[in-house]
């Protein structure tokens, strides 16, 4: 029942915070967000499942609840939640980042605070739902419901072009979800199952129960479903060429929202890909492995090249997110323990690192009121601690060893290189690895121009060192990044447990 409690408490907290006076809203929201954080940490410590939630039985799912809810058209809807080694790290990531994001919002968010924090908590509740739900219907409701608070968070508290960004984000991801939804339902109706429970669906597909539809062969039905699901999730990840909403959304979104957007929301896409595309339809994934790997490599290199061309710090980090998420796709399609496990680990690692980067850029923006590379220099002189952490975070992004990013990227590269599913795997891996050079290029260039050199600032604000409510979340994030980099087994152990069954189904191609 702990998952229900987690989601329920967060929803409740959202409601309470919504009607709190503005002056207390931030503190109350932070306090309330510690509850799900504590709950998720408890889940982490008490986690005892081994196996994959979709492929195994009850033993593969920790904290499972399954309640029949209602029946529609011969198919049963249920409240079915549980976590395994893939979803638990993401649950912890969500609660952890939300708390820190709320803390980092105290300074920049000055109007309509109650609504802001209420929406953030509402989003957190839905995110928890996305990562724990094991029934398609419930999952889809949470999946869509995440968009709503995000739309308002960007649209109300965003920058000058916030309306454009919010609508673009909402419509783009929503259309993608619709496509995904239609084809998934189509797939389910071509199965002999009487439930929307994801484990049942997965196991039915693997048992070869997909039937033809409208004169299409079963394999075509699966391929179509795979393509639609991939498209639906690729927009969320985002995979090039479906990425253009991301920089707009990030640039307009206020810092704490960027943190959550990059840190957690993008992971919904890769998480769903892992669950649906790569776990349910491994044979299709293996057949089109090369195509998917091309998407991945293009995302990595092209995203990095775009980041190189940007002058806005937030845009740089946004495009580098595109690049980093490309690694995840590459790891997933490798179908090796290290590849898929590393991809999952990268979701957590990138969540923390990009969160740190956005937060640090936000702290700088709070002081300087500019994010343009050309309009400031020598900030290290005025804000040494913030800049120090930003540098550390940037090196984390570059994959510096003993930080979480390196562990994840190394696992992915190793997994991709040794992949037997992917033809010419070493070439794909080597091509993607070149991303680590470009990422170093643009981050070092941007850092040199903004942080070092003689102090100059175009805006006429007096820059002082940031206060503790701003630097403490940064420091906590940095420590967690180093911790995961030094001891990846904290998560990697349970991840490999959950990932291995995926590799055993579907057979080789």
């Amino acid at each position: 029942m702990i998952i229900e409690a987690l989601i329920g408490v967060t929803f409740l907290a959202a409601l309470v915070v919504l009607i709190t006076p503005d002056e207390y809203a931030g503190k109350l929201a932070f306090g309330a967000s510690l509850l799900p954080l504590a709950g998720s940490l408890y889940m982490w410590s008490a986690f005892d499942a081994t196996g994959n939630a979709l492929l195994g039985g009850s033993a593969a799912r920790a904290f499972e609840t399954q309640i029949r809810w209602l029946e529609v058209g011969g198919i049963e809807l249920q409240w079915f939640v549980g976590v395994d080694g893939v979803s638990l790290p993401l649950v912890v990531l969500s609660t952890f980042l939300t708390s820190l994001a709320i803390l980092s919002a105290w300074r920049p968010i000055t109007d309509r605070q109650a609504q802001f924090y209420g929406l953030v908590l509402f989003m957190e509740a839905n995110l928890l739902g996305v990562f724990t739900a094991l029934d398609f219907f419930a999952w889809f409701v949470f999946w869509e419901a995440v968009l709503v608070p995000m739309y308002f968070l960007i649209g109300i508290w965003g920058g000058p072009r916030r309306k454009y960004a919010a609508i673009k984000f909402f419509v783009y991801t929503n259309v993608a979800s619709l496509v995904m939804f239609i084809f998934f339902i189509q797939l389910v109706y071509n199965l002999d199952v009487a439930t929307f429970g994801l484990p049942a669906i997965t196991q039915a597909i693997h048992a070869g129960e997909v039937s033809g539809f409208l004169g299409l062969a079963p394999s075509t039905v699966k391929t179509l479903a795979f393509a639609a699901l991939f498209l639906g999730f690729a927009v969320k990840v985002p995979v090039v060429p479906f990425h253009t909403w991301l920089p707009d959304a990030h640039v307009e979104a206020p810092t704490p929202v960027s943190v959550l957007l990059a840190g957690v929301l993008l992971k919904m896409g890769t998480y769903a890909m892992l669950r649906y595309n790569f776990t349910m339809l491994p044979d299709v994934a293996k057949q089109y492995a090369a195509v998917i790997a091309v998407f991945a490599v293009v995302s990595v290199i092209y995203g990095a090249m775009l980041a190189l061309a940007q002058r806005d710090l937030k845009r740089i980090v946004a495009y580098s997110s595109v690049s980093s998420m490309g690694y995840v796709i590459l790891g997933l399609v490798a179908y090796t323990t290290l590849g898929v496990g590393g991809a999952t680990f990268q979701m957590v690692a990138h969540g923390l690192i990009s969160g740190l980067m956005f937060m640090a850029v936000g702290v700088i923006y709070n002081e300087t009121h500019t994010r343009m590379v050309g309009s400031m220099s020598g900030l290290a002189d005025r804000m040494p601690v913030t800049v120090g952490i930003l540098i550390a975070g940037a090196f984390g992004y570059m994959g510096l060893p003993l930080m979480a990013g390196f562990a994840a990227e190394f696992f992915i590269f190793q997994g991709a290189f040794a992949s037997t599913v992917l033809a010419r795997a070493p070439l794909f891996a080597a091509a993607a690895m070149f991303g680590i050079v470009i990422v170093a290029g643009y981050l070092l260039l941007a850092m040199q121009k903004t942080l070092f050199g003689p102090y100059e600032l175009e805006t006429d604000y007096e820059v002082t060192a940031a206060g503790p409510t701003e630097t403490v979340p940064l420091a906590i994030l940095l420590v967690s990044i180093v911790l995961l980099g030094v001891a990846p087994e904290l998560f990697f152990d349970m991840i490999t447990d959950a990932v291995d069954p995926i590799l055993q189904v579907g057979g080789d191609v």
Partner: protein, 688 residues
């Protein structure tokens, strides 16, 4: 297990602790620690030095150690169990390197008291934190027992280099140099990473030593006694590819052509940092790595040839650039590149011991030269231009004496350390070139020729530097009245001066050849203790076996006496030195570069190496990024926005139907209904 090995992890941990202390001090308040954090650093490096010496003694006593101490990650998958771990490999090679690194690090910490503290620099905790982290990373690299760990610390060393080069971040130059250093080495590290991943994927392990180690498995595969996945290549080809990929990292870190461009720029960092990082230790990391996994290179003729050629070419190429530099540290920077070229040359031509020997002596004499340069720079109030110096000999006798010792060692004048090691490098290259059949022998000889020619230039630029700095008459007021330096400068100089003069006697291989006396201690040392199973795959003897018996090109040494080659290289070095002295050790020296004609510009501009790399970055990569951005904004996002505007505009057309006149709606409804009825009627067949 010996007690020394139990405490060995502390060698790495102590400097790391000093890093943490300095970091905490920097975060708290700058006056928390006396001397800005230098004291913990000195104590920690001293502790590490003592422990390293203990380890070295234990190794000398016949014990070696190779154990995993931390499981970093385990991929227990369906394919196979893959363990990624950190461990300690303490054998003669790493024990020797530990002592070098700890010793130089200690001396540099002490020297920093004079160079940084006494000069009133700010941000000292940051400086000492950087030094501490650097020392820890370098030591972690040295004790690595597998390639992954090497890579990890290799990168951390690069980070420290970045932080320390950019120490004076308020000026425009250092941050730029720091960026360049990290970026260029990162480019090399990319290949290293690909190679590392490839090695792990191929062998399922990255261990250096033991029966399960990848060099040994590679050897077995080539002998047909084992098989690994070689991704569609013949094993020899694949191993060569992997070796060359790892070599990419080596070329970056050890500043070999064409990735050497960062090192001269890195002189923007404080001079002690140049001494520690860019001369004695970090740059040595690359060469050390090749020595560490030498068994993997020894079996591949192509890899050896490329290592030898890169080394020989770099030795010559960098030496020529050193000829015309005006700044003291620039000359030293190019000499560093050149000297590492010699080490690569030795490794490529099968001179494993010679390379290690040169690594050892070079660490001491180059650290000495850099610290001596630091002393001069203090005296000259941070003016580095040699043409503003002159006549410092009388005013700085200690610095002059030690600097001269270092220069004699660098130029390779008997009996200073550099002579013995460089002579052995060239001698090994020559005899292997003469003894090896086929094209590999020719390549060795070509590399030897380049190395030999570089000796002449080395002698010249070294003594040009000495003459301009210390001889003649003072050319500026600064040089006439230099600032005095304290004990903390002279002390390290004296220690290093002593070492630079004497370390050559550790390995008198030519003397052994001539007299038969067993004075080639380093050879014996690297042969390893008898009976230790680990040394079966890591000893110099084993490498000889690999070169000769497993390598298809059969690298063989010819029976040439050591006297003639030694005399040749010594003669060249002395010639170069004398010419330089004749030209520059005059009361009023003038620049003779104009005699070089067109070559002068080429040399001043370092063969336009920087230019083409910067051109690549600004005229190719950046425009490419710009094009990508334009494409992204106009095409990719254009499609998205296009879809949206098509929807919007078609919507605004279609909404014209919405006239607001109720009658029209009614008409539409009626028409629609009629149409539906007709359609149904036709379809069902009751109409018509």
């Amino acid at each position: 297990m010996s007690a020394a090995f139990t405490y060995a992890p502390l060698i790495v941990a102590l400097p790391f602790l000093s890093f943490l202390i300095a970091l905490a001090a920097g975060l708290a308040d700058r006056d928390v620690l006396p001397k800005g954090g230098a004291i913990p650093g000195i104590l920690a490096t001293l502790g590490s030095l003592a422990l390293s010496a203990w380890v070295a003694l234990t190794v000398a006593g016949g014990a070696v150690f190779d154990e995993t101490i931390y499981e970093w990650a385990v991929a227990a998958g369906v394919e196979s169990q893959l363990e990624l771990s950190f461990g300690l490999l303490l054998d003669p090679l790493s024990a020797m390197m530990l002592v070098i690194v700890c010793l130089v690090a200690t001396l540099v910490h002490v020297f920093s008291l004079g160079y940084m503290n006494d000069e009133g620099e700010t941000g000292l905790p940051r400086y000492y934190a950087g030094l501490g982290l650097f020392t820890a990373s370098m030591l972690g690299f040295v004790v690595s027992d597998n390639l992954l760990q090497s890579f990890v610390f290799f990168e951390l060393v690069g980070l420290c280099s970045y932080l320390l080069i950019g120490f004076h971040f308020r000026e425009p130059g250092p941050p730029s140099a720091a960026k360049k250093a990290f970026l260029v080495t990162r480019f090399g590290d990319y290949f290293f990473l690909v190679g590392l991943v490839g090695i792990v994927a191929t062998f399922g392990t990255a261990q250096f030593g033991g029966a399960e180690s990848f060099p040994h498995v590679a050897e077995l595969v080539l002998a047909g006694e084992a098989s690994v996945r070689t991704f569609g290549f013949a094993p020899e080809t694949w191993f060569t590819i992997l070796g060359l990929l790892v070599l990419g990292g080596v070329i970056g870190k050890s500043a070999q052509f064409p990735l050497h461009t960062w090192l001269p720029d890195a002189m923007e960092g404080p001079t002690p940092v140049s001494a520690l990082i860019h001369a004695a230790t970090m740059v040595a990391a690359g060469v050390f790595l090749v020595a560490r996994m030498y068994g993997f290179y020894a079996v591949s003729p192509t890899a050896l040839a490329i290592v030898a050629l890169v080394g020989g070419f770099t030795a010559l190429f960098a030496a020529t650039m050193g000829l015309v530099k005006r700044e003291l540290k620039q000359v030293l920077a190019y000499s560093t590149i050149s000297q590492y070229g010699y080490m690569m040359l030795a490794l490529g031509t099968g001179g494993y011991v010679a390379a290690t020997f040169h690594l050892l002596t070079h660490a001491f004499f180059k650290a000495l030269l850099f610290l001596g340069a630091g002393s001069v720079i203090i005296a000259m109030h941070h003016n580095e231009n040699m043409w503003d110096m002159g006549g410092l000999r009388k005013r700085m006798p200690v610095t002059y004496a030690t600097f001269l010792v270092g220069s004699l060692a660098l130029a390779g004048i008997v009996p200073f350390a550099g002579f013995w090691s460089k002579d052995e490098v060239l001698y090994e290259a020559l005899i292997h070139g003469l003894g090896t059949e086929g094209s590999l022998g020719t390549v060795f000889l070509a590399a030897y020729a380049m190395g030999l020619l570089a000796v002449l230039f080395t002698g010249f630029y070294t003594f040009r530097m000495v003459a301009l700095t210390f001889h003649g008459e003072p050319r500026t007021d600064l040089a006439a009245d230099p600032e005095s330096v304290g004990w903390n400068v002279k002390g390290p100089l004296s220690v290093l001066g002593l070492l630079a003069a004497t370390t050559g006697f550790l390995n008198l291989a030519p003397v052994k050849k001539l007299t038969g006396a067993k004075v080639d201690f380093l050879h014996q040392w690297l042969e390893g203790p008898e009976g230790a199973a680990l040394m079966a795959t890591l000893s110099a003897k084993h490498y000889k076996h690999l070169l000769h018996d497993v390598n298809p090109a059969q690298v063989t040494a010819s029976e040439l006496g050591p006297l003639l080659p030694a005399a040749l290289s010594l003669g060249l070095a002395i010639t170069g030195a004398l010419v330089a002295f004749r030209l520059y050790a005059t009361p009023e020296p003038t620049e003779h570069t104009a005699k070089l004609g067109g070559l002068q510009d080429v040399l001043y501009n370092n063969y336009y190496q920087d230019e083409y790399q910067v051109w690549l970055a600004t005229n190719v990569v950046q425009p490419l990024a710009g094009v990508a951005d334009t494409v992204d904004q106009s095409l990719v996002d254009g499609v998205v926005n296009g879809v949206s505007s098509v929807s919007l505009s078609s919507g605004s057309r279609i909404r014209r139907i919405q006239t607001g006149v109720v009658s029209n709606y009614a008409a539409l409804v009626t028409l629609g209904l009629t149409a539906l009825l007709v359609a149904f009627g036709l379809y069902e067949g009751w109409l018509l």
